[in-house]
Symmetry: C2
Subunit: 234 residues, 2 copies
C-alpha cells in the first residue's frame, strides 16, 4: 500500500451534501403541483422527464430545473401559469446558491491527508456549478487537481490518469457511488473506497455488485479514511 500517491474524491454526497438538496427541492416542487396532481404522479413524471432529457442536458441542476419546468407543463396539460413556472426557476436558483454543507469530518480529514498524498477531485456534473461549489466549500486549496467530467466510466478514469501521469497502482478513488466511483476504477486497476450515502439516487445503483465479488473497501464516514490507510500500509 506504500505505493499510493494520489487519492481522488467524488464531490457531491462524498465531500458535501447534495442529494438531500434535490430531495428538498423535489418536495417543494410537489407542493407547488399538489393542486393539480397526486405526489406519485408528479414523482413518476419528473423521473421520466429527467431520464428522457439526460441525452440533451447531461447531469446537473440546470437540467433538473428544465425537467421540473417541463414536468409541470405536462402534468397540467399546458395550463400552468408563467408565474408558477417562475417559482420553479426560483427553486432551482436557490439550489445553486445554497451554502455548501460539508459531510462530517471532511475538512480535517482532507487537511491531514494532504500532507502525505496528492489529493484530487473527480466529479460529474455541470462544470460551472461544480467549480462554484468547490470555491464556496473552502476546500479548493487542498486539491492539487480538479476534474469535472460528463461521465464517470472506465475510459474517463483511464484518460484522467494518463493525462496526469498517474499509474493505476498509485491511485485510489473515494466516493459514494458504486457505479461511478468504485466499479470503473477497479476495472482499470485502481483502488476504491466506498463511503455510502443513505439517499442513493436510483440511477446510481449497480446490479449484482457486492463486496464479496469485487475488491473494494467500505467506510461509514470520510473521517475513517486516515485510519484505513494506516492499516493498509502496515
Amino acid at each position: 500500500m506504500r505505493s499510493l500517491r494520489t487519492i481522488a474524491f467524488d464531490a457531491d454526497d462524498t465531500l458535501w451534501h447534495h442529494q438531500n438538496l434535490f430531495e428538498e427541492t423535489q418536495e417543494r416542487f410537489r407542493a407547488l403541483l399538489r393542486p393539480h396532481r397526486e405526489d406519485a404522479w408528479i414523482d413518476a413524471q419528473l423521473h421520466d422527464t429527467e431520464m428522457r432529457n439526460l441525452r440533451h442536458f447531461g447531469y446537473g441542476v440546470k437540467g433538473f430545473m428544465l425537467s421540473m419546468v417541463e414536468t409541470a407543463i405536462q402534468l397540467t396539460d399546458g395550463r400552468i401559469a408563467g408565474a408558477e413556472i417562475q417559482k420553479i426557476i426560483e427553486l432551482g436558483k436557490e439550489m445553486l446558491d445554497r451554502p455548501i454543507e460539508l459531510m462530517p469530518g471532511v475538512a480535517a480529514t482532507l487537511e491531514s491527508l494532504s500532507h502525505q498524498y496528492e489529493l484530487m477531485v473527480i466529479t460529474k456534473g455541470d462544470l460551472f456549478d461544480q467549480e462554484t461549489k468547490l470555491a464556496r466549500s473552502g476546500l479548493g486549496a487542498l486539491f492539487a487537481k480538479v476534474e469535472v467530467v460528463s461521465e464517470k466510466d472506465a475510459p474517463t478514469y483511464a484518460a484522467i490518469l494518463k493525462r496526469h501521469g498517474i499509474g493505476p497502482g498509485h491511485f485510489m478513488m473515494v466516493g459514494n457511488s458504486l457505479k461511478s466511483d468504485i466499479e470503473p476504477v477497479l476495472a482499470i486497476g485502481g483502488r476504491a473506497v466506498h463511503v455510502p450515502y443513505d439517499l442513493q439516487w436510483s440511477h446510481d445503483r449497480v446490479e449484482g455488485m457486492s463486496r464479496n465479488t469485487h475488491s473494494y473497501l467500505e467506510i461509514n464516514s470520510l473521517s475513517e479514511l486516515p485510519e484505513l490507510l494506516e492499516r493498509l500500509e502496515e
Copy 2:
C-alpha cells in the same frame, strides 16, 4: 517561431458556427412573444436576464433556455401559458441537437496542422454540451487535449499551460474573441491569432484593444493559418 509546439483553438464561432444558432433561436423566440411585446423590448429584457443569470448559470445553452423562459414570464407579467413555455424549451433542445456546421476549411486545416503541432481545444461553456459538439463535429481525434473551462481569463490559461507542462513561448491560441482568446493569452506571454467572426456577442468586446497596441495576428479564415505559420517560421 520554430519554438511553437502547441496550437489551441477556441471552438464556438472559431471551429464551428455557434452565434448564428443563438441569433436564429432568438428570432424564433421574438416571434413567439410578438403578440405580447415589441422586438426591442424582448431583446433588451432577454439581454438583462442573461446578464443577471450569468452568476447562477454560467455560459451555455441550458442557461440561455432558462433565461428565455424567465424573460417570457416577465414580459407577459406571468400570464404566458405553459404550452408556450414548452415551445421555448423545444427551441433550446433543437439548439442542442443541431448538426455541427464547421467553418470553411476547418477540417482540412486542422488535419494538416496536426502533423506538425500538438492541437488542443480550449473552450468556455457547458461541459456536456461542448463535449457532445466536439464528438458530433468529427474533429475529436485531431486534438491531443481538450479543456472546457468556465472562464477564459489569464489565470485559467496559465493553469492549463502549467498542467500540461507547456511553456507560454511554445503556445499559440487561435480564436474569434479578443476578450477570451487573445488578450489573456498575450498577458501570460503566449501568441495569439484572431479570426474575427462577424456576429460578435456584445459581451465579448474589449474596449480600447486594437492591433496597434497589442501584438497579435489576424486572419480572415482558419484556412489561412498554415500559410501564416509558414511565414512566421521563415
